[in-house]
C-alpha cells in the first residue's frame, strides 16, 4: 500500500517536472497532430514527410538545429487545445505545425493567435481560418475546403455534367465542401438534384443512400469522404453497380494513395479535384516521391506533401531570418513571404489571408498494368481561397 501512496506522490510531483526548460539553441517545432484515434495514420504521415523535408532542405540553420516536439491531439478539440498550450507555454516552441482535423484547429485558433505563435497549418481545411477567423500568425500550406471543391463545380459543368447528386458526411467540413461545390456548380448553371448527409460517426452502411442516388439518376455523384469511410463508400459504390451507370466524382481524398489499394475495383474511373496527386509531372515532385519511396517504400500521399512543404516553408523562412526566431514578427513575415516551386507546382501564401495559393488538379483514376491510380486530367492554375471576409 505504501506503493500506492508513492504512486500518488509521483503523479503529483510530476506537476513540478512540467517546469519548462528555457528555449536554448535548437529551433523547436511543435507538431500538434493526432498520433492516436481515427486520424492517427494521417498524423504519422505528415510527421514522416516533415522529417523527410528537414532531411532534404536541411535541419540546421545558422547553427541552430531544428527539433520536433510531438504532441498527440487524439483528434479531439479539447485534447488538442490542451496540448497546444503545453507546446506554446511549456515547451515554448518557435512554430507550430498541424493539425489534421478542423475541429481541433477551431479550438486552437484563439490560443495561437493570442499568444502570437507562428502556426503552419499542415492539413485542416476549415474555411473560417482563411475567412473571418484568419490571423496574422497563421498560414496554411494545405488547403481550405472551398479552395479544393469550388473550382471543381465549374469544371464539372463545363465538362458536361448538368444534374449532380451530392453526398458527404454530416459534419462541418462535409457541409462546407458540398456548399462550395454547389456554389461553383450553380454559378456555372448546373442543378443539384439531391443531397445526402450520412452521419459522420458510425455510418454502418452506404447501401440505403446509394439506392436513393440510383433512383434519382443524376449525371454524376459528387462526394466528399476520407479515410475509412472513403474505402467503405467506394467499395459499396462499385458493388451496387453504380460504377457503370453514374460517374463518381469527389474531392481528392476520396481515392487517396493511402487507401486506393484497399478500395479495389470500385476506385476505377473516379474523377476528382485535389491539391495533389502523386503523378504530377514536375521535377520537384519527382524528387519528393523518390525521396519518400527510398525512405518508406511507397508513394507519398497528399497528406505527406503538406508536411513536406511545411518543413520547406519553415526551413526557408528560418534561412531568411538567419535562424533568429527571437523576433516572432519578423519570423512570421518571413514565413508568409516564402514561395517556391514544389511538388504541387508553384506555391505562395495569399497575403490577404495566409492561405496557400496553389494549383488544383482534376484527376481521373484508371487502371494500368492491373494497378488503379490517378492521373492528371486537367489543371486549374493558381487557385486562391475566394473568401474576402478576412480582415487582418
Amino acid at each position: 500500500m505504501k506503493k500506492m501512496y508513492f504512486l500518488l506522490m509521483v503523479a503529483l510531483s510530476s506537476l513540478f517536472l512540467l517546469t519548462p526548460i528555457h528555449a536554448a539553441e535548437p529551433v523547436k517545432v511543435g507538431m500538434i497532430l493526432p498520433y492516436s484515434g481515427v486520424y492517427a495514420g494521417l498524423g504519422k504521415e505528415i510527421t514522416r514527410a516533415f522529417e523527410l523535408g528537414l532531411e532534404v532542405f536541411g535541419d540546421e540553420v545558422n547553427g541552430r538545429k531544428i527539433v520536433l516536439v510531438q504532441e498527440d491531439t487524439e483528434g479531439k478539440p479539447n485534447s488538442g487545445l490542451s496540448k497546444t498550450k503545453k507546446l506554446i507555454f511549456s515547451d515554448k516552441v518557435d512554430v507550430l505545425v498541424g493539425p489534421v482535423s478542423s475541429g481541433v484547429l477551431a479550438a486552437m485558433r484563439d490560443t495561437v493567435h493570442n499568444s502570437k505563435t507562428p502556426f503552419v497549418i499542415a492539413n485542416a481545411g476549415h474555411d473560417g481560418i482563411s475567412g473571418a477567423k484568419c490571423s496574422p500568425w497563421i498560414v496554411r500550406t494545405s488547403f481550405s475546403n472551398r479552395q479544393v471543391v469550388r473550382p471543381m463545380g465549374k469544371w464539372m459543368y463545363d465538362n458536361g455534367y448538368r444534374k449532380v447528386y451530392l453526398m458527404a458526411p454530416d459534419y462541418a467540413a462535409g457541409h462546407q465542401m458540398m456548399d462550395h461545390f454547389k456554389a461553383g456548380f450553380k454559378e456555372a448553371g448546373g442543378t443539384i438534384i439531391g443531397e445526402e448527409y450520412p452521419p459522420l460517426q458510425g455510418t454502418k452502411d452506404f447501401g440505403p443512400y446509394l439506392a436513393k442516388v440510383k433512383e434519382a439518376k443524376p449525371d454524376a455523384l459528387f462526394v466528399f469522404f476520407a479515410g475509412g469511410p472513403a474505402i467503405q463508400f467506394v467499395k459499396s459504390f462499385g458493388a451496387f453497380g453504380l460504377g457503370n451507370t453514374i460517374p463518381l466524382a469527389g474531392a481528392g481524398w476520396l481515392t487517396s494513395p493511402l487507401y486506393i489499394k484497399a478500395q479495389g475495383e470500385g476506385a476505377n474511373n473516379i474523377i476528382g479535384s485535389a491539391n495533389y496527386i502523386p503523378s504530377i509531372d514536375n521535377a520537384a515532385n519527382k524528387a519528393y516521391q523518390d525521396a519518400f519511396k527510398a525512405k518508406h517504400k511507397r508513394e507519398g500521399s497528399e497528406f505527406a506533401v503538406q508536411g513536406y512543404d511545411s518543413a520547406r516553408v519553415i526551413v526557408e523562412a528560418l534561412k531568411a531570418v538567419n535562424g533568429d526566431t527571437s523576433d516572432k514578427k519578423a519570423f512570421m513575415d518571413a514565413i508568409r513571404a516564402v514561395t517556391f516551386d514544389g511538388p504541387r507546382g508553384k506555391m505562395r501564401f495569399d497575403s490577404k489571408n495566409g492561405n496557400i495559393i496553389q494549383n488544383i488538379y482534376v484527376y481521373k483514376n484508371s487502371k494500368t498494368n492491373g494497378v488503379i491510380a490517378p492521373s492528371v486530367f486537367d489543371v486549374i492554375k493558381d487557385v486562391q481561397d475566394p473568401s474576402d471576409s478576412c480582415t487582418m
Binding site: G41, E215, G227
Partner: protein
C-alpha cells in the same frame, strides 16, 4: 420513389445484411453478458482482431476463405487466453471492476493493433464468387451482401439447432435456469459455459472477417461496433438467442429505414428506438432470465 416496391426490397435487404452482421456480433456478447454475468466491453476488440487476423491470413494465402476459416479461430484462442489470465479471476467481481478491466483491454488491444498493423484504414478483398452483383427485380445488388445474409441465417439456424436440439444446448438452457442443479446432475456446467464464451469469441472474430470486406478495417473500429452491439443486446434482452435475433433485426432495419426515410434523424434513430423500448420494457424484449 420510396413507394417503389423494388426500392423497398433493396432497402430491406440492406437492413437485413446489417442485421445479420449485428447478430453475429451481439449473440456472443449477449450470452457472455447475460448468462455468465461478465461485462465484456472488449467484445468489440475481438471483432477488430477478427478483421486484422483476416487481413493477415489473406496476405499470406491470398484467399478470403482461408481468412474466414482461420481468423475466427485465432480470435477464439485470444479470447480463451484472456479468459484464463484475467476474466476468470473477475467472474464474481463487481461489475464496475469488470468495466475497468475490459476498458483496459480495449486500450491495450487498440495499441496492439496499431503496433502490429499500423494506423491506416484498409480492407479485406471480397471472395471472387461474391465480388459481383446479382439482379433482384431488375436492380443490381451486391452478391456479397446476400452472402452475409445467408451466413447470418445459417449461424442462426445452427445456434438454434444446437441450443434446442442437442444435449449441450439443453445443458446451457438448464444452466441458465439453475446452474447448481445442473452441477448436481454430474454435469460440468462451467465447462459448458466456457464453451459458450469461446463460441461468442469465435463469432465476434467471424463477424470481423465478414465485415472487413465491407467496412473499413482500422484501429477504432471496435468502439463504433461496441455501442451498436450493446444496443442490440439490451434491446433484445440479455442472454437469449431470440433476443439477439430480434434485437439485431430491429436495430439493423431501423438503422437502414432511418437513413432512407428520416435522414435528418439517421444518427439518432437507433438510440431513440432503444430508449423507447427500454422505457416500455426495462429489461429488454426477451431476456433469458426475468429481471428482478
Amino acid at each position: 420513389m420510396y413507394s417503389d416496391p423494388t426500392f423497398l426490397v433493396i432497402q430491406t435487404l440492406n437492413g437485413l445484411q446489417l442485421a445479420m452482421l449485428l447478430f453475429l456480433l451481439s449473440v456472443g456478447l449477449s450470452v457472455v453478458f447475460g448468462l455468465m454475468n461478465i461485462v465484456n466491453l472488449a467484445h468489440g476488440t475481438l471483432y477488430m482482431f477478427g478483421a486484422y487476423f483476416g487481413i493477415w491470413v489473406y496476405n499470406l494465402t491470398e484467399s478470403f476463405w482461408a481468412a474466414l476459416a482461420l481468423a475466427p479461430l485465432g480470435v477464439m484462442l485470444l479470447g480463451m487466453f484472456f479468459y484464463e489470465i484475467l476474466i476468470k479471476k473477475l467472474r464474481n467481481a463487481p461489475p464496475l471492476q469488470q468495466v475497468l478491466v475490459t476498458f483496459g483491454l480495449i486500450f491495450v488491444g487498440l495499441d496492439a493493433v496499431r503496433m502490429s498493423w499500423g494506423n491506416l484504414a484498409t480492407s479485406i478483398p471480397k471472395p471472387e464468387i461474391f465480388s459481383g452483383s446479382v439482379l433482384i427485380f431488375g436492380e443490381i445488388y451486391p452478391s456479397y451482401r446476400l452472402f452475409i445474409i445467408g451466413l447470418g441465417i445459417l449461424v442462426m439456424l445452427v445456434l438454434y439447432f444446437c441450443l434446442e436440439r442437442t444435449r449441450v444446448g439443453s445443458i446451457i438452457r438448464a444452466g441458465v435456469d439453475d446452474r447448481e442443479m445442473v452441477s448436481c446432475l454430474g454435469i460440468n456446467v462451467d465447462l459448458a459455459f466456457f464453451g459458450v464464451f469461446c463460441i461468442g469469441c469465435y463469432l465476434a472474430g467471424l463477424s470481423g472477417v465478414v465485415a472487413g470486406a465491407v467496412f473499413p478495417v482500422e484501429p477504432g473500429m471496435d468502439m463504433s461496433v461496441l455501442i451498436l452491439t450493446l444496443i442490440v443486446v439490451v434491446v433484445g434482452g440479455l442472454g437469449s438467442l431470440k433476443g439477439a435475433v430480434v434485437g439485431s433485426l430491429m436495430i439493423g432495419l431501423a438503422e437502414t429505414y432511418g437513413q432512407v426515410f428520416i435522414p435528418e434523424y439517421a444518427s439518432v434513430t437507433i438510440y431513440a428506438l432503444m430508449a423507447i423500448i427500454l422505457l416500455k420494457r426495462p429489461g429488454g424484449l426477451f431476456p433469458a432470465r426475468a429481471v428482478q
